[in-house]
């Protein structure tokens, strides 16, 4: 027989001798299949933290097929998906719970009321124990990274920016993270301090975690007064430090100036992107055409709201996660028109190919968007 024919026969003979049973999954195959983008949860408990902030304890909704919760790294967030009065809306909330509790089937998110906020008001006023919610799997890069970061962590938290630091603190207490953490937490008044009892209890018990609270609009005996400043930080700065910040952009700006004085390299400072601030010079209304696969939806958008919000108001189920331009989940292609994109993180090739992140894009003309959902 010809060598080539022989080679073909060898292949056929080997294959012939194998079992014709169904093809089995490997462990990685199974892990991938089990990792769902969406998780269905039930509110197990609601805790009032301050007059305008509540925590929600979430457990898996087995009736909807979520048997267990995805683990998370301290600092990560989930995206809450809601459908309110014909409008679709998502919001990103940092997980404020002990990461080890995820394995036992428990998450906690903590939500502060936003004036005229669509989701926060519904969550605070209407949601009750037993209600179901749809959330994403944990997402986000913010938090401590054992390989990248130093052992002395300085946390800077403004307002509800305290939430991821609770998870980081518990990760240290549970020895998942081997580091020391000092969180500088700035709140307006005593009554605005979220997790006050929890923080006090951690401060008493832990030798590795310390919260330093400062009030900006009220003087109180047990707390510092004023914005976080150099003098407050000084005793806690070591030779090598990692700084994690979560709060409004104005806080980042003043903190960066202070950190420069301590010679902390930029690579050691990490921010959670918290909110997008933009005010257009005038408020205008434009037309918005959205191409969804083979459909076209026509609606309007306003120069002071993002294209994502405009689409959600038109009940278009646009994908989104972080809502601050980072995760890339809402990525779309701008076919016509101009937008102002605020703080989006995008690969150069995407920019050059007219990709935009609608979650941080404000229209400056009529818009045609290709939304590949």
């Amino acid at each position: 027989m010809d060598k080539i024919e022989k080679l073909k026969k060898v292949r056929n003979d080997i294959i012939k001798d194998y079992s014709g049973r169904d093809i089995k999954d490997t462990n990685i195959d199974t892990l991938v299949k089990d990792s769902k983008d969406l998780q269905y949860v039930i509110i197990k408990d609601i805790i009032s933290e301050t007059k305008d902030t509540k925590s929600f304890i979430l457990i898996p909704d087995k009736s909807k097929g979520t048997d267990s919760l995805e683990p998370f790294k301290a600092g990560q967030y989930i995206s809450l998906k809601m459908f309110i009065d014909e409008e679709y809306a998502t919001r990103a909330y940092s997980l404020s719970s002990r990461p080890s509790l995820a394995k036992k089937g428990e998450y906690r998110i903590t939500i502060k009321r936003v004036e005229n906020g669509l989701v926060s008001n519904i969550m605070l006023d209407n949601m009750k124990v037993g209600d179901g919610l749809t959330i994403s799997r944990p997402m986000g890069e913010f938090g401590y990274n054992e390989i990248r970061d130093e052992k002395n962590i300085i946390g800077i938290a403004g307002g509800s920016g305290i939430t991821p630091f609770m998870a980081i603190a518990y990760s240290i207490i549970d020895k998942e993270i081997d580091a020391n953490l000092t969180v500088f937490y700035s709140a307006k008044t005593k009554d605005d301090i979220i997790f006050r009892n929890e923080i006090e209890s951690i401060n008493k018990k832990s030798r590795k975690v310390k919260f330093v609270i400062t009030l900006t609009r009220e003087e109180a005996d047990e707390y510092l007064y004023g914005h976080i400043n150099k003098e407050m930080l000084e005793p806690y700065i070591k030779e090598f430090n990692t700084v994690l910040m979560c709060g409004p952009k104005t806080l980042y700006k003043t903190m960066n100036e202070i950190l420069m004085e301590f010679d902390i390299p930029k690579k050691c400072v990490h921010y959670e992107n918290f909110q997008v601030d933009y005010t257009p010079s005038e408020i205008k209304k434009y037309s918005l055409k959205v191409i969804l696969k083979d459909d076209l939806v026509e609606t309007t958008c306003k120069s002071d709201e993002t294209l994502l919000v405009a689409m959600e108001k038109a009940n278009i189920k646009a994908p989104s996660m972080c809502r601050v331009g980072i995760c890339g989940y809402c990525r779309s292609i701008l076919l016509e028109g101009n937008v102002k994109m605020i703080g989006s993180s995008m690969v150069k090739a995407m920019n050059e190919n007219d990709y935009i992140h609608p979650c941080v894009s404000y229209p400056e003309s009529d818009i045609v968007l290709r939304l590949d959902i």
Partner: protein
């Protein structure tokens, strides 16, 4: 709307299939499950760094002077890829013996270098080059005409049923010389005693005669250039379209996506593995397909660590484009080490050495890769996954630092870790494999090519790194062209 062809997946094979079909005036739709094209060839951003995922050097591209097949195809469609030709520049260190050597320059330089070290090698190496070239030409004829005449290509016949190691021994090359030349086995995912001599020769042909190039743009720009061209020829691509079921109805293929939409076509081209298709998409697989799938070995998978460092590569003491640490220079011995979690074989890539724009000024990108020839991930659950991958990355960085005597950790500004889980979730690649099916004995690319006419299926075909030409960006791409062209030719034949 009934498409002539629907392509599932927009990896290299899928894009090439789309380009070829669209340029032949077919109504084509690519369904991509992610929101970006490219599959494993993509770019992601962390902080101020843009990391290319897997495409670090491009084979069979060449330049104006020595034009590779890939360049010829892309040129035909006027797809411009900014590239620069690079010489080999790799430092190899055997961890056990602490011996290291550098492979630097063009093929001729390396032959001279080996002759100096091992006198008498030159003639044998020149003979090897001649054979490599003949095999390359024979393969072209085989793909074109379906057979090769023995009297025209005697060396093809002489070596076709040999494994690489046997062929190299037959040429009388010293074990040391074979070991020094065989570092490429890691790029093919098979040790020399499992890798066919033909597959080895074809890889060497491209490396030696067509050189390697690096992109001077990011991977994603390359991919988007191709997609733009595909669209300008009338091709259509839909993103976030994860195909979950494929059935046949009245001679039409019906594809259902996760979002509940239905697409119809006369033919389907899968840029995912046969294994995935017959496990997940087509429910009633024939027994011989299941036998084939149970017979095959899934290629090695592994962990990739992407590092953004806040110093220039010169300041860090990195001199070479690539670094390779191995436990043992002999591939068949080394592969045994690589069946354990704790082995020392690590590939390091420093794109800045060949491309000044790889990352911002005074920074460096370092990519570390470690692969495994046993399923070391088989007992991992989702709760210990995070720690497992971080520990693995830490070990890899430490090992790289220790063995090369340089400091990396201190300068890490950004870090991202890709595991088999990451790769499979993004691409549906079986077991997160880097190579699709392993090139192994009867399942090397040459064997798949020979079996191809008998294994062709009605209405469906397979392209990409898990298909005909096995792994590698150029192979995956070329499979998309070859397989669709074969389908088009058959259409013509059968009217």
């Amino acid at each position: 709307m009934i498409y002539d062809y629907i392509v599932v997946g927009s990896g290299m094979g899928g894009i090439a299939a789309g380009l070829n079909l669209a340029s032949n005036d077919k109504k084509v739709l690519i369904l991509e499950k992610n929101s970006l094209p490219g599959g494993l060839v993509t770019t992601f951003k962390r902080g101020r760094f843009e990391f290319d995922t897997t495409l670090h050097t491009l084979a069979n591209y060449g330049d104006e002077e020595i034009t590779g097949d890939l360049k010829k195809i892309l040129d035909k469609w006027e797809i411009d890829v900014p590239t620069v030709r690079i010489p080999l520049d790799i430092e190899i260190k055997e961890v056990s013996s602490k011996k290291d050597f550098i492979i630097k320059g063009e093929a001729e330089d390396i032959i001279v270098q080996l002759e100096e070290e091992y006198p008498g090698s030159m003639e044998k190496l020149k003979k090897l080059l001649k054979i490599v070239k003949e095999i390359h030409e024979a393969l072209k004829v085989l793909l074109d005409k379906g057979k090769v005449e023995e009297n025209e290509y005697p060396n093809f016949y002489k070596f076709v049923d040999l494994m690489a190691i046997d062929g190299l021994n037959l040429l009388g090359l010293k074990r040391e010389v074979i070991n020094k030349l065989s570092f490429v086995w890691l790029n093919l995912g098979s040790p020399l005693n499992k890798l066919s001599f033909i597959d080895y020769a074809e890889y060497m042909y491209k490396l030696i005669f067509k050189k390697e190039v690096v992109l001077t743009c990011k991977s994603l720009e390359f991919v988007l250039n191709m997609i733009n061209k595909y669209q300008s020829m009338g091709g259509k691509i839909l993103y976030n379209s994860n195909v979950i079921e494929v059935t046949k109805e009245n001679n039409l293929m019906i594809l259902k996506t996760e979002d509940g939409l239905i697409y119809k076509a006369k033919e389907v081209v899968f840029d995912v593995s046969k294994r995935y298709v017959f496990k997940e998409l087509i429910k009633d697989a024939a027994k011989d397909i299941k036998k084939l799938e149970n017979a095959r070995t899934i290629g090695a998978n592994g962990v990739i660590v992407y590092l953004g460092l806040n110093k220039s590569y010169q300041e860090l003491g990195l001199k070479h484009h690539k670094y390779l640490l191995v436990d043992n220079l002999s591939s068949d011995i080394n592969v045994k080490y690589m069946m354990n979690k704790n082995h020392n074989t690590i590939m390091g890539i420093v794109p800045n050495v060949v491309n000044i724009d790889a990352s911002p000024k005074n920074t460096t990108i370092l990519v570390l890769e470690k692969m495994f020839f046993k399923d070391i991930f088989k007992n991992i659950n989702k709760y210990d996954y995070q720690k497992f991958k971080e520990d693995m990355a830490k070990e890899m960085i430490n090992s790289f630092e220790e063995n090369l005597g340089i400091d990396i950790t201190e300068y890490i500004e950004e870090i991202e870790i890709a595991t088999p889980f990451t790769i499979e979730r993004y691409t549906n690649n079986i077991n997160g494999s880097w190579f699709g099916y392993m090139r192994k004995g009867y399942d090397n690319s040459i064997n798949r090519i020979l079996a191809y006419p008998d294994e062709v299926m009605d209405k469906i075909s397979f392209v990409g790194g898990s298909s005909l030409f096995a792994s590698g960006v150029d192979n995956a791409f070329y499979s998309g062209i070859y397989v669709t062209q074969d389908k088009l030719n058959r259409e013509v034949k059968h009217g």
